[in-house]
């Protein structure tokens, strides 16, 4: 078994990772990449369980249902595929087209009654799952939304935007609750299930590469306090921008997938849980 404090490196994709997702119970991680392949891994030690082959274009998103029976993948080959988790059958599924500003990311509402979608122009819309009409609309970001993720109880969503900020919204009212600002475009953000923390990954712009580089990559995942909107920590490790971050459902670890093709699983040390900003 690997040491709980050392990060676990998942190597199984040949191109940049586009999304990673834990299943509801947290024992599995699904990863998809531009190499047309989806992988599933044990989160406890990083061992690969299986691969879903069949798409003919880059994969951009993945999700599995609440009891880990089915896996859904979305691809640049203009199709979504539904897979049986345990076998690797491919069953094609229909895609839902959308007008106006391209939807870049979407999540379900708390009771499956609506979908919350982020758009290329920075807008966030609530679409009714029955009729498809727009129930609510907000525009707090001024550039593309790269990612939306829900809190574990589905009451909140966090957005990650190219405008270098991440924002917390109430899922039902779409009220803007908090903002987290950085100097680099944010590719992905996630809400901790147990602490008042959020994690963000990004970094399309510059990195200083000095002549004293080591094997540790310099791209960082950044942790913010959800109530104070202040950054309190960073974790280095990726050699390229981070495209996706996700908390384990128990909140004791998190994962990040990068442009460098690696997925890294980090377990938090005890200090992390005791850390408090003076208040």
């Amino acid at each position: 078994m690997s040491h709980p404090l050392k990060p676990i490196l998942l190597q199984g994709h040949e191109r940049s990772i586009t999304q990673i997702k834990y299943n509801r119970e947290g024992d599995l991680i699904f990863s998809v990449a531009k190499d047309t392949v989806a992988n599933v891994w044990y989160s406890v030690n990083g061992e690969r369980l299986g691969t879903y082959n069949g798409h003919t274009g880059a994969l951009w998103c993945v999700d599995c249902d609440w009891d880990t029976k089915n896996v859904l993948t979305g691809s640049a080959d203009n199709s979504c595929r539904l897979w049986d988790c345990e076998t690797e059958d491919n069953q094609p599924y229909l895609t839902v087209p959308c007008a106006e500003s391209k939807i870049t990311s979407a999540v379900w509402g708390p009771l499956g009654e609506f979908v919350i979608a982020g758009h290329e122009n920075g807008e966030i819309n609530q679409f009714s799952a029955k009729s498809g009409e727009v129930l609510k609309k907000v525009k707090e970001h001024n550039k593309q939304i790269n990612d939306i993720q829900t809190s574990v109880d589905l009451t909140m969503v966090i957005t990650a935007s190219k405008d270098c900020s991440s924002k917390l919204f109430d899922s039902t009212t779409l009220d803007h609750i908090k903002s987290f600002k950085t100097e680099r475009p944010v590719n992905s953000a996630a809400i901790s299930p147990i602490m008042d923390h959020v994690v963000m990954g990004g970094g399309q712009e510059a990195m200083e590469v000095t002549t004293t580089s080591t094997r540790i990559g310099k791209f960082e995942a950044r942790f913010f306090h959800a109530a104070y909107e202040e950054e309190f920590g960073r974790v280095k490790g990726h050699f390229g921008p981070i495209n996706c971050v996700a908390f384990h459902p128990d909140g004791k670890s998190y994962s990040s997938g990068g442009e460098d093709g690696y997925t890294r699983i980090h377990h938090f040390d005890p200090q992390y849980f005791d850390f408090e900003l003076e208040a």
């Binding site: 990060p7 040949e14 708390p110 109880d153 990195m207 580089s213 390229g240 460098d260």
Partner: protein, 654 residues
């Protein structure tokens, strides 16, 4: 004088139309009939360029009528001031102007009093209780300029006036000057397409700004260089300009009383406020190559290269076999250094000498630097307020930094030489003593902080790809920056090499563009801040006006420095803890609001529980351990693979 002619002409003109096309040429010499033909030819030549003329001659005046009013205006613009000969200079005016002047009433009307424009305290920033200096930052590729928290907009770049009173911004239509407590717009100077600007030193209330625009063909501003009075906003004088290659074209004397420019074989010195030539003539200096004003006195040094048997000369001395000459004044004008590159007879190489002129001593003695350097000089700089200078010499990668001291007895002593430096520029602190050797741009931003009181290297650091260095006016802080202007297109990938020579393989795409940012250091080379700004372009410290303290009062303050230090430290501690308290209070209230929101949300979540259970067929999935009955125990064996990575999982790195 034209009164009696007016009547006739007006009548004639009313018959023809186009009174606007008539031009009056004044100061025409009275000539006898034999020379009238010649005169007519001359007249025809110049103004006729601008259109068909029908003209009328009167003694001393010529009326020229052109085909169109535009042609008449062209004639005025170009022929006015034409020197026919020593005694006669044509004055050309549009006829309708006379009409205008004639109709000025004989009654003197007191001009309306302009309301006093109160711009407030123009030196307001100097009153900052904590004596903080300001700096301007241009970023977002020039779209935003900020001074502290004031946002202003400019199209290209900005300039501070020499004493820091004004900030000039460039726009398509001209220059705007900003200042005062709230950074209001003080003055606007209309100069279409302005691209360069220079400030004169301030002299009491007088100060000027010089603008250059390469667009010469507009009617309103036919001149390329314009000198403006800052306080009144008036255009004082316009000049032609062939090339702006060596801006500023006009060099100002130390206190702004004179300004001068050099053209082919000529040195023209003008005085303020009249803007006229000193002694009403330019100096003919055949072959003049370059000149510069003393920073302390009204003295110009210029040099002329050798010409056959006549040796090259600087006004202070004669030199032989000179290849090139560069003049470096020390800040107070106490010393002038002439860097002379010569090729000694019979050799091929270039040898560099420094000749130091000690300006404050009788008859300005000259000392030759004892070690003529046989290497090329990369940079030279005097210590401000002092008598040391630093030289960078050699060729990459063997660049050396030498420090010299000009002693009271005239001897120039080499204090120390540092070899194998990565440097191409020298930046002295404005207060002297401390300095930075910087390797900018292609040398990857190597910085060496030196204390020249004992020539020790205080710190060697790096700001990767730094393109600019700026000391603050007090010499306590240094800003290094990576400007977006210096690294416009810059994407490439790079493989990471480990110290043990292994390269990373498999699927690495790492990015290596440049972070546009400015970093703040102490004078000793300790890094204080890193500020990233999207497409950051330029940072300039706001200059300070000269100190009002006398040398004696400065001495007294220095004596009591310990007492002041204690007071300042206490102030710092208080303000820090005040900040902490403020921060803590802010956090407390943010947490309270957040908690209130979360409680309401969780309440709603709770109320929806039945709905959730229904959706999942009665399975409670609210918590991870909500339905342990459903769990199966399974023992699985894993093969552990050994892969060691340094521990990186703690996010708490600050």
């Amino acid at each position: 004088m034209v009164k009696h002619l007016l009547g006739d002409l007006l009548r004639k003109a009313q018959e023809a139309d186009g009174i606007d096309s008539v031009v009056v040429v004044d100061n025409v010499p009275q000539v006898g009939p034999e020379r009238l033909e010649k005169l007519k030819n001359v007249i025809h030549k110049i103004p006729s360029k601008f259109g068909k003329i029908t003209n009328e001659f009167y003694p001393r005046y010529i009326f020229l009528e052109y085909g169109a009013p535009t042609q008449a205006l062209e004639a005025v613009k170009n022929a006015d001031g034409y020197k026919l000969d020593k005694q006669h200079t044509f004055r050309v005016n549009v006829f309708t102007d006379f009409d205008k002047y004639m109709s000025i009433s004989d009654e003197w009307e007191t001009p309306e009093k302009q309301p006093f424009k109160d711009f407030g305290n123009m030196r307001h920033w100097m009153e900052d209780p904590d004596c903080r200096d300001q700096y301007s930052v241009i970023y977002e590729s020039g779209e935003r300029t900020a001074i502290f928290n004031n946002d202003r907009w400019t199209e290209t770049y900005v300039r501070w006036s020499p004493k820091g009173t004004y900030l000039a911004t460039f726009h398509q239509r001209g220059i705007a000057l900003w200042g005062g407590e709230k950074f209001k717009q003080i003055q606007r100077f209309s100069h279409q397409g302005v691209s360069l600007i220079d400030f004169s030193p301030a002299r009491g209330n007088q100060s000027y700004v010089v603008t250059f625009s390469p667009l010469m063909d507009t009617k309103e501003d036919p001149q390329a260089i314009i000198i403006w009075d800052i306080l009144t906003g008036q255009k004082k004088r316009g000049f032609h300009c062939e090339s702006s290659a060596h801006w500023p074209i006009f060099k100002w004397s130390h206190d702004g009383k004179f300004f001068a420019r050099m053209t082919q074989d000529t040195l023209s010195i003008y005085e303020t406020p009249s803007m006229g030539l000193l002694d009403k003539k330019s100096l003919k200096i055949s072959g003049i190559k370059d000149f510069s004003w003393s920073p302390g006195d009204d003295i110009i040094a210029f040099w002329v290269p050798e010409d056959k048997d006549i040796p090259a000369r600087v006004t202070l001395m004669n030199l032989f076999n000179v290849v090139d000459c560069k003049l470096h004044w020390q800040r107070q004008g106490d010393y002038l250094c002439v860097k002379v590159d010569r090729t000694p007879k019979g050799t091929q190489g270039v040898v560099t000498n420094f000749e130091i002129f000690r300006m404050r001593e009788k008859q300005v003695p000259v000392d030759v630097c004892c070690r003529p350097l046989a290497e090329s000089i990369i940079a030279f700089a005097w210590e401000p307020n002092g008598s040391k200078f630093a030289v960078l010499h050699g060729e990459s990668p063997r660049i050396n930094a030498s420090f010299y001291h000009v002693k009271n007895n005239g001897k120039i002593e080499l204090i120390k030489m540092f070899d194998k430096q990565q440097a191409n520029s020298i930046f002295w602190s404005p207060q002297g003593q401390f300095m930075v050797l910087a390797g900018l741009r292609s040398m990857n931003g190597a910085l060496a902080f030196v204390d020249t009181s004992d020539c020790t290297m205080m710190n060697m650091v790096e700001h990767y790809m730094a393109s600019d260095v700026e000391w603050d006016p007090t010499g306590r802080y240094l800003v290094t920056s990576v400007s977006w202007w210096s690294h416009k297109v810059h994407t490439h990938t790079q493989l990471i090499h480990t110290p043990d020579r292994h390269t990373h393989t498999q699927g690495i795409n790492s990015y290596c563009r440049v972070d546009n940012a400015y970093w703040l250091w102490t004078f000793q080379g300790r890094l204080l801040q890193k500020n990233n700004k999207d497409r950051f372009c330029q940072l300039l410290w706001r200059p300070r006006p000269a100190t009002l303290l006398t040398q004696d009062s400065i001495k007294v303050i220095k004596k009591d420095l310990k007492k002041y230090s204690k007071i300042f430290e206490q102030k710092d501690r208080l303000s820090q803890s005040k900040a902490s308290r403020e921060l803590v209070d802010k956090r407390r209230s943010m947490m309270e609001d957040y908690r209130t929101y979360r409680e309401a949300a969780l309440q709603q979540h709770h109320e929806q529980k039945t709905a959730r259970l229904q959706l999942r067929g009665g399975v409670d999935t609210d918590e991870l351990d909500s339905n342990t009955d459903d769990w199966e125990e399974e023992t699985i064996e894993f093969l552990s693979t050994k892969k060691s990575f340094p521990s990186e999982s703690s996010p708490l790195r600050r």
